[in-house]
């Protein structure tokens, strides 16, 4: 049965788009049919991170408004047969998406795919509410940083009240994904640790993505990080997270600090 999953956060720049692309690719690689949908109307970045920016002709708004049919707007990934993208539009009209129209598109996607991953815009405005509206599950992307955790708390409140499931008295299954985790800084007590975040947000953990240059390298070349360098630490963490989404039991690996002898002696990391 098709699952609608929203990737959301309160604060911007925490890694929602990277996460949508990486998890979408990881799910598709394990044989699931996946569509990633960009809900960030006006900003639109998922196509860029997926490396499909030059292939966008029609977008989500065109489909919602009936200008284009869904198959005309769907872009198949160049690398993976079962991975598709429904891009967002650059329009500045924030009200171009309607609740009813989004509902219709999600319904149509449900009949075609196993997974529908919705990349939400940041914040608590209408765009974010629409992206989560029809979700069965939610991934709240959080950095180990006070403002990010605080905003995640607001988003969790919205998931529990503003979604169709919540209004029907059902649950949206929620997961926390911690990104940009720096084990060295956490060990030195300079960064909120995982237990603190989970305790404060009272939501189960889906995965921990270590801070890594591989994430930037992958987005530079427009390839989901799980495809760009499958052996890298963030790629492996995303693959583990995708397996947990599919219901597998995968042991949680907390990224460990790698330090050289000199660094240890000096008590700091090399720049």
């Amino acid at each position: 049965m098709a699952k609608v999953l929203v990737v959301t956060s309160g604060k911007g720049g925490v890694g929602k788009t990277t996460t949508t692309a990486a998890l979408g690719a990881a799910l598709a690689q394990s044989g699931q049919s996946v569509v990633v949908v960009d809900f960030d109307v006006g900003l639109r970045n998922l196509d860029l991170v997926m490396g499909a920016e030059r292939r966008v002709v029609f977008d989500l708004i065109n489909v919602v408004q009936g200008v284009a049919k869904l198959p005309q707007a769907l872009i198949r990934d160049k690398r993976l047969e079962s991975l598709w993208l429904l891009p967002a539009s650059q329009t500045r009209d924030k009200d171009a998406l309607t609740d009813e129209g989004v509902g219709r598109v999600i319904d149509e996607l449900r009949s075609r795919f196993d997974w529908i991953l919705c990349d939400s815009p940041a914040g608590i405005e209408r765009g974010a509410t629409l992206a989560m509206r029809y979700a069965d599950e939610a991934i709240i992307v959080t950095n180990p940083e006070v403002s990010s955790v605080r905003d995640s708390d607001r988003i969790i409140g919205m998931l529990d009240s503003k979604t169709v499931r919540a209004e029907r008295g059902e649950r949206v299954e929620k997961h926390i994904l911690i990104t940009r985790y720096d084990p060295g800084r956490a060990a030195r007590g300079e960064m909120l640790n995982i237990d603190d975040i989970l305790e404060i947000l009272a939501t189960p953990l889906l995965g921990i993505i270590p801070e890594s240059q591989d994430v930037l390298k992958a987005s530079n070349v427009g390839t989901p990080v799980t495809l760009n360098n499958a052996e890298s630490a963030p790629a492996r963490a995303y693959v583990d997270a995708s397996r947990r989404l599919m219901g597998e039991e995968v042991a949680m690996t907390v990224p460990a600090e790698r330090k050289g002898f000199m660094n240890r002696l000096l008590g700091r990391r090399a720049a």
Binding site: R150, R188, G189, M191, I200, L266
Partner: protein, 97 residues
């Protein structure tokens, strides 16, 4: 032990515990506020509806305040009644009812 050594060498202090504490205080406050505002809006509307059945009211002159104390919480309702408020009409209605 290693933490202490690091602090000795680097002169750094662990700020994460402070962050954790600040967040816990802030969020418990915000969660309370958010829950409260919904309740207050509902109370305000319903009280207004009941009172306006009998008295003409200016909706802006109704104030509902909820204060949460440790052992006792108070609900304060302040309704400004217009000067030409018809006492007699209300009395008659009461007699009839």
């Amino acid at each position: 032990m290693s933490m202490r050594l690091l602090r000795l060498f680097g002169g750094r202090t662990a700020t994460a515990p402070v962050a954790r504490e600040r967040l816990q205080i802030l969020l418990s406050h915000e969660r309370g506020l958010l829950g409260q505002s919904d309740l207050l809006v509902t109370l305000r509307e319903e009280i207004l509806a009941v009172v306006s059945k009998h008295i003409q009211l200016d909706p802006d002159k109704v104030m509902v305040k909820l204060e949460r104390g440790k052992s006792v919480s108070t609900l304060e309702v302040d309704i400004e009644v217009p000067n030409n408020f018809d006492n007699k009409a209300l009395g008659e209605r009461r007699m009839a009812g």
